[in-house]
């Protein structure tokens, strides 16, 4: 990349951010620190406020209260143009009446860059994104994937401190989505610029992010690396939202074992070993036990009786759908490779070591783990 960064300017700090549209509160007291060069993904279901949060960072929406700082500078009152950010829109928002070259040049011309500098930046961005052959075409003459690249190119030539992506892959077909996902990740590795990426797709979040921010109903539910969130979800929502198929949730009670450890009794005479800090729970306390489908193992001896309804074979893996004997809630069990249990068969299943998540049914929060405090 010709454009050398002189100093780290791409760190972002959101402080006590609130946003309402009329009487509707869409963001509640959002606090977030993003370090320079991080790839951060905002993820959450529709209407959770993730796009609004991105647009607030971009300056396309005002904040109701709170402050935004980029590179240590308070930008809350600045226009989008003054924030040194660039944004890739879900719709791409390419100027339809301009050639690709003019689309890329428009922002630089507005900033009164010299012609030679504009040309150099366009050439470099076009090379990085392999869009040189299309520079003189109009957006209408390009495929969805090519438009996507042009939209990213328009952001790159600006050399922003922060890239903002608003669900950029949602208009692409599945194959192109996987490919573009990898390209954006590669781009981030090359440029080392802060990128904030909004998606409702947890696979994008898991595969692309250095750091995931899970949002629900305008609140940040949890912030962490993809595996932190996957392995130690802070609450039931995060546990259910990340990971596919969803985590299985079983009702149970705490039993303090002979060795003083906290076990979970979900019935059927089998006690499940947990890493819950026994000092924080009492025997008999009601809990919800979560186990991801892939974290159930089959057992020859003791285990929970799992009644098979049907299975889905994907070739490299198999999902078995059923329920615990005598219960109606669906339970899903994942097995690697080929596996074809007969409908109605009873399998014995046990959670893998250290893979049991325990939540408080009232607060929906994960119970504190021994030696860790709350997740």
């Amino acid at each position: 990349m010709v454009i050398y960064r002189e100093q780290a300017m791409g760190d972002l700090k959101l402080k006590n951010l609130n946003k309402s549209f009329g009487a509707v509160d869409v963001l509640h007291d959002v606090n977030l620190q993003i370090d320079n060069g991080e790839f951060v993904v905002f993820v959450g279901p529709s209407g959770c406020g993730k796009s609004t949060l991105l647009r607030i960072i971009a300056g396309l929406e005002d904040v109701t209260s709170g402050a935004i700082a980029i590179g240590g500078r308070d930008v809350s009152a600045l226009s989008p143009a003054e924030r040194k950010i660039a944004m890739v829109f879900q719709s791409y928002a390419l100027y339809p009446h301009m050639s690709v070259r003019k689309n890329l040049a428009f922002g630089l011309e507005n900033l009164k860059f010299k012609r030679a500098e504009i040309d150099a930046r366009i050439t470099e961005a076009a090379r990085m994104l392999a869009i040189e052959p299309y520079l003189d075409r109009r957006p209408k003459q390009l495929s969805g994937g090519q438009r996507q690249r042009v939209a990213i190119g328009r952001a790159i030539v600006r050399d922003p401190d922060i890239f903002l992506f608003d669900e950029p892959l949602s208009n692409l077909d599945a194959a192109l989505r996987v490919q573009t996902r990898a390209e954006i990740t590669k781009l981030h590795r090359e440029m080392q610029t802060t990128m904030i990426y909004v998606t409702h797709d947890q696979v994008e979040a898991m595969t692309m992010a250095d750091k995931i921010v899970v949002l629900r109903a305008g609140r940040i539910e949890q912030v962490g690396t993809p595996l932190e969130l996957f392995d130690h979800p802070r609450n039931l929502f995060v546990a259910g939202f990340l990971g596919s198929p969803r985590m299985n949730i079983l009702k149970g009670r705490i039993v303090i074992g002979d060795d003083g450890g906290a076990l979970v009794d979900v019935g059927y005479g089998t006690l499940l070993r947990s890493d819950v800090d026994p000092a924080t729970v009492t025997s008999g306390q009601e809990v919800l036990a979560g186990v991801r489908p892939a974290h159930f193992g089959l057992s020859d001896g003791e285990g929970l009786p799992f009644e098979v309804q049907y299975h889905e074979s994907l070739g490299t893996e198999t999902y078995v759908y059923g329920n615990l004997q005598g219960q109606s809630e669906q339970v899903i069990v994942h097995q690697a490779g080929h596996f074809a249990p007969a409908p109605g068969a009873i399998l014995k299943i046990v959670p893998l070591e250290g893979r049991l998540h325990v939540f408080d049914p009232a607060s929906e929060l994960a119970l504190a783990r021994a030696g860790h405090g709350r997740a």
Partner: protein, 329 residues
């Protein structure tokens, strides 16, 4: 057929029952391919009688002379009427033409078209740009600017005539400000100015509506992209809004030209028949005067003039149709 439930459904059933048999009979007679023409026929008959037939008659009259009304009594004169209209020492000087009033009317019309198109386009564009913003009482303003379109041209002419009269509202205002009264409609400059003003006021709502529709079709995120791209408001207007509004602007431009060439009724009422003198005598008024208002009923000359005007309008209309298709695609 689904069971009829509401009143409208029952009425429809009744109509269907009434027409089904005869229509089926016609279809058996002429085949499915002919049916569209059967359905078009009532409209075509009306169009034929009140539009196509008069056009044909006018073209026929254009080649005849005399003052007789019935074409069978009129002598064929070939291109005489056209020759008379086009005989000029200099087209720039109406006085040097055989039909000087025709050329006066042409030049008056051309000037009117120029000023009226420019002024209406500008006012409609600015109004549309303002109404496209999130201003208070936007719906009210949209309606208000459109209301004049609903009025009759004669009513428009009369209202403004009262307003501009020697004792009209405008002069009352001016006197309150200490400005001496002016008889606007008896002054060549002022009367021409106000013919344009009235026309702009009358028609701008319609064009504003077309432009507003065009503005609202421009995706909002393009403006957001432009904001992030550091485009100033004026650059956004000239580099984003106007280019994307281009097709609508072209349609408006051509519609405006067509309708400006046809200026007649409101101007005729406002200026007491094209005055002062011939300062506001336009092409349609010339045609009207030649055929119906003069001492001699020169139907041939009037028809020849309207054929010429029709050709100009035809070219403009074809352009409009082509552009309209382009805008749709």
């Amino acid at each position: 057929m689904a069971r009829a439930t509401g009143f409208a459904d029952r009425a429809l059933d009744l109509v269907m029952a009434l027409f089904e048999a005869p229509i089926n009979a016609v279809e058996r007679l002429i085949g499915k391919g002919g049916m569209p023409y059967v359905f078009l026929a009532p409209n075509l008959v009306l169009f034929g009688i009140f539009t196509f037939l008069p056009i044909a008659i006018a073209i026929g009259y254009a080649f005849t002379g005399g003052t007789e009304l019935l074409i069978s009594n009129r002598p064929f004169v070939g291109l005489d009427n056209f020759r008379k209209l086009m005989t000029c020492d200099s087209y720039l000087v109406p006085g040097s033409c055989e039909e000087s009033l025709f050329w006066t009317a042409i030049w008056n019309t051309l000037w009117f078209v120029g000023f009226n198109v420019a002024a209406t386009l500008l006012v409609a564009l600015v109004t549309a740009l303002i109404l496209n913003r999130a201003i208070a009482a936007r719906g009210f303003f949209r309606a208000m600017f459109f209301y004049p379109v609903l009025l009759s041209p004669v009513v428009i002419g009369l209202i403004w005539k009262w307003f501009l009269d020697r004792n009209g509202l405008l002069n009352v205002f001016l006197q309150m400000l200490g400005v001496p009264p002016e008889i606007f409609l008896l002054d060549v400059g002022w009367s021409r100015f106000f013919v344009v003003v009235v026309s702009v006021w009358f028609h701008m709502g319609f064009y504003t509506l077309i432009l507003l529709a065009g503005l609202q079709a421009i995706p909002k995120d393009l403006y957001e992209a432009a904001a992030i791209d550091a485009a100033t408001p004026s650059r956004t207007l000239f580099r984003i809004t106007l280019p994307l509004l281009g097709p609508n602007l072209l349609v408006v431009l051509i519609l405006l030209m067509i309708r400006s060439v046809q200026i007649f009724d409101e101007a005729w009422v406002l200026t007491n028949g094209g005055g002062p003198g011939t300062a506001n005598t336009f092409l349609v008024q010339y045609i009207y005067q030649m055929a119906f208002a003069g001492d001699l009923r020169l139907f041939g000359l009037a028809s020849a003039a309207s054929v010429l005007m029709g050709l100009v309008l035809l070219v403009l209309t074809l352009a409009q149709l082509r552009l309209g298709k382009k805008v749709e695609s």
